[in-house]
Amino acid sequence: MSDNIPVSPTMAKVRLTLFGVGVVGLLLGAYFLVTKQNPMQIVGVAVWLLGAIILHDAILSPIVLGVSVLARRAGRRVSRVVLVIIQGAVVVGAILTLLVVPEIYAKTLTPANDTVLPFDYAIRLGLMWLGLIIVTGAVCALYLRRAARRA
């Protein structure tokens, strides 16, 4: 990617330093892992790392791709600004959902005491989506009214 950009001598030095820092970091990380965890645990870490890469590259990316294709198809019928607003709202809601779903699950595992995971996160997540829909609807309506007035 960086092929067509010339590299100045200073930049080359900075680069070398960064590579040095990088290698030291990787070695330290490996050292801490190997000295503090037993082989089975290290295998566990490796499996999680691999799982994260696979989850990202093989599952999430194609899903995102599919969704954006759908959105773009809809884009022919709907105002682009409205589409961008709705897309943004869905993404924000999805991120919050991703963070809260494991929390809902964790709460089913009997937390250590009443001050751990004190809320009803499922209901709150539902209310969040409701609020998001209302706010997004209002923003879109506002935009469309303004656009209509301008036109």
Binding site: G29, S61, F119
Partner: protein
């Protein structure tokens, strides 16, 4: 205009991958935020680590008293903010995934490997960090050790990644030369630079730094799609002529979305760490002001198996310095001069709670057994087991006048879940080191 369905689908596919949000400048903008958040997490994480496992020469500030409350609150909050940032970042570089051949030469292999490591380690790091705050540990390895080791892997692979991309990063650092100042481009061409990374790139724009025509299979695929008569051959009224408008719209929309995502996750969770955000605490795993005596807890007396020993009428606190030892019953401690301080309980999990404590200055107990001002202590709890049953306290905390053997909390007798009959409370330390159910203090 008639387009074959398959081609139309592919055209859509290509257009969506070549969305204007994915371009070097945007990757740099997001990368800067992400790198900043990572470095903040790394620094605050290291601080938390060394507070718990200090190197022999280390001393820590005891003021401001809420220093750890702030650093660890920032750690968790910046950590949660990493989620939208990393998703956005991965999205901006996402077309690179569809590039074939995947690996070009040794340099390419190193580049790919460092990125794979970086992505994998970052995702695992933030996910286990988040789940840890839910006290949910579905992994077969030690959290602290792995979270610690991976933080070095992340910073290391991040440094390598930045090194590899340095030319591009410096080129796109400032907005003004965000589009390759060496190349004369019309405004429209510049806007196009925003768009394609793997698209069939117009020749003039291919010279822009960091813009690369996709090679191999993907490139062929996209070139084939591009043969499809598209916008230009549509009737004029249906033509998408306003490329600049569109690309900048979706770029702004994208940045606004990531910004809103960061804003939402922070606003709706940071109330567990920062009191002024408490009204917005919707999703945090903790809430300020709940629990016995309005202070949340992690380990209950039952979990620590101290319900009997802590209530035993013959309980005494033993204070030792070499061969000198003194014991204090709770009544004797209460008879000593009492000090009241406001100090937070600040958990490693990021939540915290300010509270008012009354008890005996630790300093005076240490003096009673002849300990000097440089004395450090070994604290032992009644707990039957656990990693924090026996802990060390550095001399900076022992000599601090606000460090107390606390007997009351918020004006009431210490609740058993808060460490009755007596607990330690010191400024600037993580909650795990604020030993509850004290049994003995020994000058070390």
């Amino acid at each position: 205009m008639q387009t074959q369905p398959v081609r139309r689908l592919l055209l859509n596919l290509q257009k969506s991958v070549a969305a204007p949000t994915r371009n070097p400048r945007l990757a740099v903008v997001l990368g800067r935020f992400l790198a900043t958040a990572f470095l903040i997490c790394f620094a605050t994480g290291l601080y938390s680590h060394f507070l718990q496992d200090p190197l022999p020469w280390m001393h820590f500030p005891t003021s401001p008293a809420n220093l750890y409350q702030i650093t660890q609150g920032i750690h968790i909050t910046a950590g949660i903010a990493c989620f939208p940032l990393i998703f956005g970042k991965l999205y901006t570089v996402f077309p690179n995934l569809f590039q074939t051949p995947l690996i070009t030469g040794f340099k390419g292999l190193l580049e790919r490997a460092s990125i794979a490591l970086f992505v994998g380690a970052s995702l695992v790091e933030i996910v286990i960090g988040l789940l840890n705050t839910y006290q949910f540990y579905p992994w077969p390895f030690g959290f602290r050790e792995t979270h610690f080791a991976l933080s070095f892997v992340i910073i290391g692979s991040l440094a390598i990644h930045i090194g590899v991309k340095l030319p591009i990063i410096s080129k796109y650092w400032k907005k003004i030369d965000g589009y390759g100042p060496g190349i004369r481009q019309s405004a429209e061409e510049r806007e196009l630079v925003d768009a394609p990374l793997i698209d069939a790139v117009p020749p003039g724009i291919q010279r822009a730094p960091g813009v690369k025509q996709a090679a191999g299979l993907t490139g062929m695929l996209f070139r084939w799609i591009d043969d499809t008569p598209s916008v230009d051959e549509m009737p004029a009224d249906k033509r998408e002529t306003k490329v600049p408008h569109h690309s900048s719209l979706s770029r702004r929309g994208f940045l606004a979305t990531i910004g809103a995502g960061v804003g939402a996750v922070v606003l709706l969770t940071a109330g567990q760490s920062f009191a002024f955000l408490k009204p917005f605490n919707v999703f945090a795993p903790r809430e300020k002001g709940i629990g016995p005596q309005a202070v949340p807890i992690n380990r209950t007396a039952a979990a620590a198996q101290v319900t009997e020993t802590a209530m035993d009428a013959s309980w005494v606190l033993t204070v030792k310095n070499g061969s000198i030892a003194q014991t204090f019953s709770r009544a004797q401690l209460l008879a000593l001069p009492q000090t009241t301080v406001d100090l937070p309980i600040s958990c490693v999990e990021g939540w915290s709670q300010m509270a008012t404590w009354t008890g005996v200055r630790l300093q005076s107990l240490v003096k009673a057994v002849g300990g000097g001002s440089g004395a450090a202590l070994t604290l032992t709890s009644l707990e039957k087991e656990g990693g924090y049953r026996v802990t060390q306290m550095g001399s900076e905390y022992v000599s601090d006048p606000t460090t107390l053997v606390a007997l009351t909390l918020n004006g009431e007798t210490l609740d058993i879940d808060h460490g009755y009959p007596a607990r330690m409370i010191a400024p600037g330390r993580p909650g795990v080191l604020q030993t509850k159910w004290l049994s003995s203090l020994e000058v070390s």
